[in-house]
């Protein structure tokens, strides 16, 4: 099979990720609104927000590292989405694989930590330390799940995993072959997206949105863009591992939107856990379920 | 039990010299004492009559008599009644002793009264400003302080465009009760005065 990287893919995949991500942000706000018996924002609202934020005419920047932090935050996700195959485009998924993807998904938090450190706002420091602690927590079940699935399919190549699931039909989907890993993956998804009850690192009323406290204008615009990519990357990864990827665009979109709305629906009904409770919870239940699933697989 | 406690309290209060006791209602007792005897009275009320809760300290300005009247409101949980201890101090030095060692919350009220009336309480732990931190005029609650004159001197008033109502009506709005016909319009009061 030709493993030549199509350069057009590398430009188109982040663009598609951005557009689908904006759709997911709209979905999130609409679900929140409907759950609260409101109407919610109009269709292009995420676009208006991002354009407006980038169009601010005066800007306070705290230094070079502040800006580099935001660039890292978006850049990590942009790199991650080129490793996630979509119907018709594989990008560099064959060259990278799950290990590179797992590393790429950790870069945004670290970049944000750098940027927030430069801001020197105590709210931001508290928020980002909580975010990194929560990341320490959810990475354990996340890695177990991801490599459990890799073990199940015998390779870390996402293209191959998707091809096997599509060739075999629903019976070979990850969710059917190992439902325990899928459940642990949902926990991990909730924590990775930072949704209630694991939303401690934002905590708007307590620490004034934590890491985002000094971000305004183009920085906040960058973070909004990062949110689009984050939702997209997390849900596409879950779909590729457990739901057989997308045979064509319609099923792909349906599956990813379905996966991303599960954490959202759960999120708006819950308050939030404290950081130590998050760590305790996530190291207990999803880890146990994932290890149990792994144990079943090993037999 | 209430009757017993009330008679006991009345007899207790007779121990303080120069006291005047007036019962306002079943739960309200008004006590007038000299300025020297007040701390002893409060000590008595707290220690022996179970009035452990200081609700508030208020100050009344009597400019004609040249005095400040300090009122100490104390509440008893056991007897469920309030005793207001009134005392007068001369306005000129405006200094009094603090009851901080009898009731700890007194520090807060005394700080407030110092800010608003200018009464200094000796022995109070902190007399610094906390409400009117940006204020450098006279103590504002004194009767000689004319708030309206001060406001007219230090602030500007808004310029209204005279056609403001026509603009509103053109957009479909309006005023339901015109200002001339409102009950508490200033114009009516000034016309009658």
């Amino acid at each position: 099979m030709e493993s030549q990287v199509n350069l057009v893919d590398l430009v188109l995949m982040p663009l598609i990720a951005f557009i689908v991500g904006m759709l997911m942000v709209l979905l999130m706000r609409k679900i929140a609104a409907r759950l609260q018996r409101r109407i919610g924002p109009p269709f292009f609202q995420p676009l208006y927000d991002i354009v407006k934020l980038h169009g601010k005419q005066t800007q306070i920047s705290h230094g070079l590292i502040h800006e580099i932090g935001i660039v890292m935050a978006i850049g990590g996700y942009v790199a991650a989405v080129t490793l996630l195959p979509v119907p018709g485009m594989n990008g560099i998924a064959e060259k990278g694989g799950l290990i590179a993807l797992a590393y790429m998904l950790m870069i945004p938090s670290l970049g944000l930590a750098l940027g927030v450190g430069q801001c020197a706002n105590p709210n931001g420091s508290i928020g980002i330390s909580r975010a990194l602690t929560a990341m320490l927590a959810y990475d354990i079940p996340f890695i177990i799940v991801v490599f459990g699935v890799a073990f199940m399919f015998g390779s870390t190549n996402l293209v191959q995993i998707i091809a096997e699931q599509q060739a075999g039909g629903i019976a070979t989907w990850g969710i059917v072959q190992s439902p325990l890993l899928a459940i642990a993956g949902l926990f991990g998804l909730q924590a990775m997206l930072g949704k209630q009850p694991f939303e401690i690192y934002i905590a708007p009323a307590e620490i004034a949105t934590g890491p985002m406290v000094e971000m305004g204008g183009k920085f906040l615009g960058g973070l909004f863009v990062m949110q689009c990519f984050q939702l997209y990357a997390a849900s596409v990864l879950y779909t590729s591992l457990f739901l057989g990827g997308g045979e064509n665009w319609i099923t792909f979109l349906l599956k990813t939107l379905f996966v991303v709305e599960i954490p959202m629906v759960i999120a708006f009904l819950f308050p939030r856990y404290r950081t130590e409770d998050v760590v305790r919870l996530v190291w207990k239940w999803p880890t146990l379920i994932a290890l149990l699933g792994l144990a079943f697989l090993m037999h | 039990m209430n009757k017993e406690l009330m008679t006991w309290l009345d007899s207790l209060l007779q121990e303080v010299e120069g006291i005047e006791v007036r019962r306002k209602s079943s739960r309200r007792l008004r006590v007038d004492v000299d300025a020297d005897a007040l701390p002893a009275l409060l000590e008595l009320l707290r220690g022996r009559a179970s009035y452990v809760h200081l609700s508030a300290i208020s100050c009344v300005d009597w400019p004609d008599a040249g005095e400040f009247e300090l009122v100490y409101h104390v509440w008893s949980y056991e007897m469920q009644s309030l005793v207001s201890a009134h005392t007068r101090i001369p306005r000129d030095p405006g200094v009094y002793i603090s009851v901080y060692d009898i009731y700890t919350p007194a520090a807060f009220f005394e700080r407030d009264i110092h800010e608003m009336f200018g009464v200094f309480f000796e022995g109070s732990p902190d007399m610094s400003k906390f409400i009117l931190t940006e204020w450098d005029g006279p103590p504002p609650m004194r009767k000689e302080f004319d708030s309206e004159a001060w406001v007219n001197e230090h602030f500007d008033w808004q310029d209204y465009r005279p056609e403001w109502l026509q603009e509103l009506e053109a957009e479909g709005g309006g005023v339901a009760v015109p200002p001339d016909e409102q009950r508490f319009s200033r114009r009516n009061i000034d016309d009658e005065a």
Binding site: R29, A33, Q36, R37, R38, I39, G40, P41, P42, F44, Q45, L47, Y48, D49, V51, K52, G55, K56, Q57, T58, Q59, I60, P122, P204, A205, A208, T209, M212, V213, E214, M215, G216, G217, L220 | L132, T133, E134, W135, D136, G137, P140, F145, S147, E148, W150, V151, H154, F155, D156, W157, Q158, Y160, E169, E171, G172, G173, G174, V175, A176, P178
Partner: protein, 243 residues
Amino acid sequence: MSSIDNIPVKQGRTKVRQRKRTNPLAGVFDEFMDFCQARSLFMLHYCTGCGAIELPPAMTSRFDMERLGIQPMVTPRQADILLVTGYVAVKTLKRVILTYEQMPSPKYVIGICSCTVNGGMYWQSYATAKKLNDYLPVDMYIAGCMPRPEAVIAGLRDLRRNIERGEANSWEDYFRNYDYYLGHQQRLFGENWQTPTNIISEAEHYGLLGEGTRGEHTALLDKHQEPLEAQEMKLEIPELKRR
């Protein structure tokens, strides 16, 4: 005078007057930015006085503000609109000015409730500011005591219409006429009033220097200005120290 039965209910959308231009492509980008700005307003959740009670109903289910694109944000760095709801005590006014200067432009100040207009109920008080636009440039006043959520939303829609037309530029006025605002602020707070933000150098940087930026009051500011140092963060808990 009108009675309450005669007040008609306004229906339909207010039309946005098209800006006249000779070249159809001139200012298209500015119009697009104004279009997006009007449809996405982040209000600062810093509600000064009693009028703040009318904002939660405007945000929640019954009078949903999010369908107009308005959502609350918690820090001034993220917000566009500063809502001054209710009376502004002198103490609060200092913090409001500090907050206003931290917001990125374009920013809008809305004075809700009559107390910001002309003193309202507290017009005789020595401790409240009477006329808000002496101290900050105000884009929109919404009178009332307090205005109902429908009135608040009507005011916000008027602001939106003004933004789309390109008429809501009072943030530039703060830079161009800084001396006027500083003069009123010094009259209220004393001559030693200074903020961490250096408005004049910001105005120079963004090309918004006007004739009214420097004047006698800024000269006073230069005389008294001290470099502000970061405060040391200390936690003094006597119980812990005793142990």
